[in-house]
Every structure is written in C-alpha cells, then in structure tokens.
Homo-oligomer: 259 residues x 2
Amino acid sequence: MNFEKEIVIGVVGGMGPQAGLALCNSILCQTNARTDQEHLPVILMSFPGAVEDRTLFLQGAVADNPAFAIAGIIQKLEKAGAGIIGIACNTSHSPEIYDVILHELKKRRSRVKLVNMPYETCRHIQDTYPSVRRVGLLTTNGTWQSGIYKKLLREAGLEPVIPDYQFQQNVIHKMIYDPDFGIKANPAAVSEKVRTLLDKALHYLKEQGAEAIIVGCTELSLVLPDKMIMDMIIVDSTGTLAGALVREATRKEMKKSLC
Amino acid sequence: MNFEKEIVIGVVGGMGPQAGLALCNSILCQTNARTDQEHLPVILMSFPGAVEDRTLFLQGAVADNPAFAIAGIIQKLEKAGAGIIGIACNTSHSPEIYDVILHELKKRRSRVKLVNMPYETCRHIQDTYPSVRRVGLLTTNGTWQSGIYKKLLREAGLEPVIPDYQFQQNVIHKMIYDPDFGIKANPAAVSEKVRTLLDKALHYLKEQGAEAIIVGCTELSLVLPDKMIMDMIIVDSTGTLAGALVREATRKEMKKSLC
C-alpha cells in the first residue's frame, strides 16, 4: 500500500475532541486537492479520558502532568506511521508541559517532527502581517499563566496585549470552561452568553490597541474563524498549525529523507 | 495511561477525507459528555491516496480492489488499539469490496468488531420509523450497482425506491463526482449546481412515493443533515453509523470482554 511511502501527519486530539477535528478539517481546507486521492494522509488520535485538563495541572489542581499522556499518544502515532506531529491544544505548549513532552520523546528515542503551535502562530503574524505591532491574546488561564505567547511575541519583535488577571478569569476563561454555558460543555452549539463575553473581550483588546488577535485556545477557534473583526486581524492558532503541518508534509527534502 | 483500558473506536476515513471527519463529529455529537474527559476514545486513519476509488473499481475502471487497502488500514487501527471499527464510506460496503475486507481480516486473524453502515442504517429506519414503508436511495453509482441497500431494505420488510440508471447517472452521481462542481472536488463549499441537482433528486424520489430517504453516500451527508425535507424523513448513514459505534463502545458486556 502506498501510504507506507508518504509522510503521515499525526494529530494529538481530544483536548477537546472537537478541536482535534477542527485541526484535521483545516488541514483538508489548506491542501490543494481535487480528488480524494490527492489529500494528505492523517492519523488523529483522540483519547480525551487519558489526558488530564492542562489548565488544572498548571494551576496545581491536579497532580499528573498531562505531558506523559501526550508523549504516549505521540509515540502511538509514530508507531502507526506518523512522521510529523501537531498537538491540537495551545495550553499543552506551556513550558511546564511542552518541555516534559520533548524530554519524554527524547528519552523514548522518538524521531517525529513536532510542530509547535504558538511558535507557528507568532511566525505567521510576522510573515503575513509585517505592519502589525500590538497583538492581543485570547487563551485559557493555563496558557495565560505560562506566558508562552508573551515570550514568543516579544522574540518576534511584537508587543503582546494581555488581559489583566481579573478580566482573564471572569471573561475569557469563562467562555471556554464555564460548566453550564462554556464551549467545552457545549461544543456543538455556541451559547448566547459565550457570544456576549466574546464581544466584551474583543472590545477590551481593541481599547488596549490590539491590531491583531491570536485565538490561542483551540476551543475558541471553533467560534472565531480566521477573519477581520472590528478592524483587528483574527489569527486562528488552529489554522496556523494546520498550515504548518501541510507545509512540512509537502516539503520535498523531508519526503526524501523519510522515504 | 487509562486509554489502554477503554474500548477505542477506529474510523477508516479518507473516502473522502471530509466524510471521515463528519463521522468523528457525529460520534462526538451523539456522546453524552460535559467535559473533554467524558468523550470516547477515537482513532481516525485517513489515507486518501492509498485507497482506490470504490465506484471506479466496481465499474471495472481500476483493477485493484480497494478492499485490500481498507483491510490494511483496519489492521493498523487494531494494532493502534481500536476494538470497534467503522468505515466512513457506503460504497465500500458493496459485497464485491466488503466481503473481501471480511475475508482479509479473517485471514489476518483480526479480532475487531466491524460495524456495517448500510445494515445499521436500515435497522435504524425499522426501529425508529415503524410506519415507513417506501425508502428512497441517494448513493454513488457503485453502491447503486451493487444493490446492497435494495437487498437490506427488502430483508427489513421495506420497499426500496431506486432511481433508474439514467437518473442515477445524470443527477445523483454527478452531485458527488462531477470534476468541476461535485462535492468531492469542493467539499468545503457546496455549489449551486449541486443544490439544483439535489432538489431534482428529492422531487424525483417524492414522486415515486418515498416516505424516507437514505443518504447512502457519506459525501451527500455533508449537504443533507438528518431532518425532514418535503415531508420525507432524511436518514443520514453517517449519523446512523456514528450512533451504532457509540452504542457498541458503551455496551458494558463488551467492555468486560475486552478489558
């Protein structure tokens, strides 16, 4: 079977499960294909029950670092033939989790190429919107606390516009995690309350001078597809990761080295 | 990691790739969950380039039976831990393909439970709409030619309403396969021409007395979600397969036998 000869994209899904599917869908949308057969090979592994909540871990509310489960899933993906990996969850890219994933993969002698979602997102802004300076952030509390986007944006010469703790806690995080109306509890239908909070967040970031906004949580990508809102450029981290995975999977030199 | 102890659903995707994602999405929608962790474990393998077009094979236009590639993917899913398998493609359930898949799996001593999409779809009509008698069919030429739905509907005491060859060829198959405007060529945006042909097909089946319609091609599921149209019940084969996979994955006795 010729799938053995192709570079297979591996997606770590399940965080939440809808976000893993959204990443796969974005891979399809960014692939130049007119028939089924022209699309890229993808394996999605979605083990939602196996991975502890990333934000709860970063806040000290659960003890197990989800990095070990994620590294285990990446190893399963590699064993199944995947060569390039994307993790469909921004919070997993916080150093306390991501560095442990990298360490585990090294220890297990993994040979996969792991594509870094926040790095690709910041790079995408640099490459695509060179005039943008101030970049707002919509993330989970976990990603907010880790400072990963702040660091990467500064390294890219950009100015992060970060909500204060109160606003982050009561508006942005609530959209994602509220047990009644949040996106995680109702991924199929976005509630009116989420829309109201989202509007509040966009106004807040606009007032702080944001010219672009990073949708830095894959759950929020489900309600904010890549476009302009209130004159701000919306940069969807799910879309930028998908684009980077397609780019890596179709690089000729990589194909040669793995075949 | 606790994913080792759960029953994992394996999805053979890639036929087309969008249909595999739609099946995974329907599994999510039919799962009773309020947090990420409550969702079912799923592996999707989408190797679009590895599987020959099913209809072209059934029509004799390509020599390789896609059954061998599909059986290979099922074996990879089983190796990765999947215990219950769904194939997100109706045409693959035509006996010339499906029987070879079963034979191959037996030969390879596979222990997976393969859930049969057309069988589950006909069973769903029997169970959910007991007053329905005449059932219309929207399928690829391959499935049309195989007669699989006709056989299963008759076995269920239902009367199949099947388009004649000319109509099947010029209206229904065109919606899916037309290289310019068909769904396979443009899965992200349904063209006006597809909508016009779909309307024609629904009127045709209504005139023939159909009380329900089986959306018996996973590509068509993308444009005809499960609902009523023109007083006919629309039964989406993607949705019925997803429901059956969730049912099988949450059966307690099965859990016991595999753990």
